[in-house]
């Protein structure tokens, strides 16, 4: 069975990669959430970690969900075919938030330019590293999204190989 071979070869690599991403997202989400709660309950100032991990309760929650989705892909190792869905949805969530934060950084840039044109402020490049997305392009979700691209490539190749994308069943 080809699904079995996926379980042993490619499947193992994909599951390991997904679990590694899952752990990274969980850690990130936990820190974002903790900083956010700390900021809300005890401090009035932004308590960003090293200027990279933002204080973001709901963003942290989203990262936790992404991490948990990736971690659920571990059952791919047990040969549960449908569990590839966790890898795909994990990649989807990773892409949604990675692209979202990049768009927010872009929007910050546009706002800075508009202020400059209207004569309300100077032109600076600060929006690249500080703004609505927290640390701008340094936001970890963007880098984790980029780190997930090789996994997306591996997953897409596997799905094409087994005709899943065309709704065909796996051939023995």
């Amino acid at each position: 069975m080809r699904w079995l071979s996926m379980r042993q070869g490619n499947g193992r690599l994909v599951a390991a990669y997904a679990v590694a991403l899952g752990v990274a997202y969980l850690a990130l989400g936990a820190v974002e959430l903790a900083l956010g709660l700390h900021n809300l309950l005890w401090c009035s100032e932004n308590a960003s970690l090293a200027g990279i991990v933002p204080t973001d309760i709901l963003g942290g929650f989203a990262s936790l969900v992404t991490g948990a989705t990736f971690l659920s892909a571990i059952s791919v190792l047990r040969g549960v075919r449908e569990s590839w869905g966790y890898v795909i949805v994990g990649l989807f969530l990773s892409a949604v938030f990675g692209v979202l934060y990049m768009l927010i950084v872009g929007a910050d840039g546009l706002s800075t330019w508009l202020s400059y044109v209207a004569g309300e402020g100077d032109w600076t490049w600060e929006w690249l590293t500080s703004g609505s997305a927290g640390p701008g392009l340094l936001r970890p979700e963007i880098w984790l999204f980029l780190a997930s691209l090789p996994l997306a490539h591996l997953t897409l190749r596997a799905l094409k190989q087994f005709n899943v994308l065309r709704g065909r069943r796996a051939q023995a």
């Binding site: 989203a62 989705t69 979202l100 546009l110």
Partner: protein
């Protein structure tokens, strides 16, 4: 000529109409079912010297009494007793379609199965053992491809053969103990009533009694054996639990999944991308968190990514106002044009980008096939909390506009469920309220602006569920449990740019239309009230709004809102918000006498709100009295002043309590 009455039944979209046309040659008599607005189609054909009179029953997933379609189909089989019932089963979706078939067998109908879309099943890689399926179910099974008229002659032969069949297999569906024992005991009680036993299959009637089927219960409540039956039902509840309908439905699905499908479908089950995605999106544990995470992403997209586009619109309207007013010498007219029209309307229109972005994101989720999954995932929670499963779709629509959302409740069959959904629907935060959140949040909530806005949507959902639960518990009219949700989940698809943009524009256009009509009128009215008496308000070039008519109105109402920390300006804004919620923003801008660009900063510097009272104001805006248009829709859909007034009163009271709760607990926690 010998005549055989044949009923065609099947799930929606299984090719039933195509088979009807193939059998009758497309010649049909179309009318309505007696007393209903549901279409009834009948036709004839002659096969081997026998006339087949074919009746097309409405498409249905089951034979419960939850919808008119189901009831029509069921009553026809029970009361008209057709000679043969042809169940059209989608071979490419066997598992789901077998549910209706099991119910037909329980009804002891003389069933012939047309296994349609045989070619589609083959192309998906399904291998269906037709003989085994026929043996397991005890009925003839004929593979067909309606679009190619394949299997039609065989189907007609099978119909004639079945019509001649004298004996039918009974008790095909075995639920196992303790179900079967209890069903037999109830059936033996019902058997004592000669009238019932001559009309209905006893085992089916017993199952319906256990399911507390409304129509059946009406019938058996008149029976002399009803008292004995009630005692038995109480005993059964102790063994099977309160919700026996769900328990029996689950048993049927497990019979299909464990007993029938594994023996009939050989080879591996085809795996599709939809299967894989549903594994995560419909996951028991991850389904709801994924939905909430995507919802959060949608709000950041709508709030943050659209911001520069709002700035562009603000700049445009400011310049337009300055340009037009510079050419007018009369100060009153210049103020009216610049501040009243361009200022107020510009403020409102600058909120078009976030609304359009919100709809763009929603359209992407809808066109991809995810939104029905969101409804499915949330249904489990909603039914547990007393709200009907189908309510979720109108609730989702409520995020756009409550008017079409209230109208969409027509899909809910039971009137109690429908009115309950209508009453709580205005608590879903419509797009009109978004500009208010954006204005207040950006004015006083700083980095928490997006989170506060998002929390309004969560608060709306929570309040809707809470109120539904409360009404279900305390108002006798709503007592009882909601009927279960059955819905078809479409395949996932990649949304196209064109259709997504069209969907977003169609919804966003409603906001623009409103901005150009009712909001403009409100803005003009609020400009007039805040600028007159002219001499008293405009003193030596200074704008003294405290002397205006609007300030007098606000001060009159202010004492009632003082416990919430709202000053007269906030009260006036809420007053105009009753006409249209968006008008709150324009009213603030006019009262502050600033351009739309400065509305947020002016609101902050005017000290109208603290972060805490600002958040409470947002919650009040979310919750209080629906706008005029929504009230009109509520009256039309409920046809009752009683429920319309009830909606106004309870939401106003709820808004007050929620805002008071936020302010009180916030202060206790040390917030200002």
């Amino acid at each position: 000529m010998e005549k055989v009455v044949v009923a065609l039944i099947g799930n929606p979209n299984v090719g039933k109409s195509q088979i009807f046309n193939n059998l009758t040659g497309g010649r049909a008599h179309v009318g309505n079912w007696p007393g209903k607005t549901v279409e009834k189609k009948e036709g004839k054909c002659v096969h081997k010297g026998v006339e087949l009179h074919i009746v097309d029953l409405p498409g249905t997933y089951s034979l419960t009494a939850h919808s008119i379609d189901e009831l029509i189909a069921r009553n026809f089989i029970v009361e008209e007793k057709p000679d043969v019932v042809v169940d059209i089963v989608d071979a490419s979706n066997l598992e789901r379609n077998l549910y209706l078939l099991l119910q037909l067998l329980e009804l002891e109908a003389n069933v012939v199965v047309a296994l349609n879309k045989w070619d589609a099943a083959k192309s998906l890689g399904y291998e269906i053992n037709v003989d085994e399926l026929s043996r397991l179910l005890g009925v003839p099974v004929i593979p067909t491809v309606a679009t190619e008229k394949m299997g039609m002659e065989e189907l007609k032969d099978a119909i004639l053969e079945a019509a001649k069949r004298k004996e039918r297999r009974k008790n095909i569906v075995k639920y196992g103990e303790p179900f079967d024992g209890i069903i037999s005991e109830i059936a033996s009680i019902l058997q004592k009533d000669g009238e019932l036993s001559s009309k209905y299959p006893m085992r089916w009637l017993a199952i319906k009694v256990l399911e507390a089927d409304e129509e059946v219960m009406k019938t058996v409540s008149k029976s002399p054996v009803y008292d004995e039956l009630k005692l038995k039902l109480e005993e059964a509840k102790k063994v099977l639990g309160e919700d026996m309908e769900i328990a029996l439905a689950e048993r049927r699905y497990s019979i299909i999944a464990e007993t029938i499908v594994p023996r009939v479908l050989t080879g591996a089950r085809p795996l599709t991308l939809t299967d894989l995605l549903d594994k995560a999106f419909l996951s028991k544990h991850l389904g709801i968190p994924i939905f909430l995470a995507l919802w959060w992403a949608l709000f950041r997209f709508a709030f943050d990514v659209s911001a520069p586009f709002s700035d562009m619109l603000s700049m445009l309207f400011t310049e337009l106002g300055k340009f037009v007013s510079s050419g007018i010498s009369d100060p009153q007219l210049a103020s009216f044009i610049a501040d009243g029209i361009f200022g107020g309307l510009g403020t409102v229109l600058s909120f078009f980008p976030p609304i359009f972005f919100l709809f763009l994101g929603l359209a992407m989720l809808e066109d991809s096939g995810y939104l029905p999954r969101a409804a499915f995932v949330m249904d489990r929670l909603m039914v547990k909390l007393g709200l009907h499963g189908r309510s979720f779709i109108p609730m989702l629509l409520g995020f756009g506009c409550n008017v079409p959302a209230v109208m969409a409740t027509r899909t809910i069959e039971k009137e109690e469920d429908r009115i309950l959904t209508i009453l709580v629907n205005p608590l879903m935060s419509c797009s009109a309220r978004l500009p208010v959140y954006l204005l207040i949040a950006s004015a006083v909530l700083g980095p928490w602006a997006a989170a506060a806005t998002y929390s309004m949507y969560i608060l709306g959902i929570a309040l809707a569920i809470l109120m539904a639960k409360l009404f279900r518990t305390v108002i006798p009219y709503f007592k009882g449990k909601p009927s279960p949700l059955i819905m078809e989940l479409p395949l996932y698809a990649v949304p196209t740019v064109r259709t997504t943009l069209i969907h977003a524009w169609e919804r966003g256009r409603l906001f623009l239309r409103k901005a150009g009509t009712i909001i403009l009128l409100v803005v003009i009215l609020s400009w007039f009230l805040s600028n007159y008496p002219w001499e008293a308000v405009h003193q030596n070039g200074e704008f003294v709004i405290e002397n205006s008519y609007i300030a007098q109105l606000g001060r009159l109402l202010e004492p009632y809102f003082r416990p919430l920390g709202f000053n007269w300006m906030a009260v006036v804004a809420l007053f105009f918000g009753f006409l249209a919620k968006e008008a709150v923003v324009g009213t603030f801008a006019t009262m502050l006498g600033v351009s739309e660009e400065e509305a947020s900063s002016a609101l902050a510097s005017a000290g109208v709100f603290t972060p805490l009272t600002g958040f409470a104001f947002m919650a009040f805006t979310l919750t209080y009295t629906p706008c005029m248009a929504t009230l009109g829709a509520i009256y039309r859909e409920t046809n009752s002043w009683k429920w319309t007034i009830f909606a106004v009163v309870y939401e106003l009271a709820l808004a007050y309590l929620v805002a008071l709760g936020i302010v009180t607990f916030g202060r206790l926690l040390g917030f200002t």
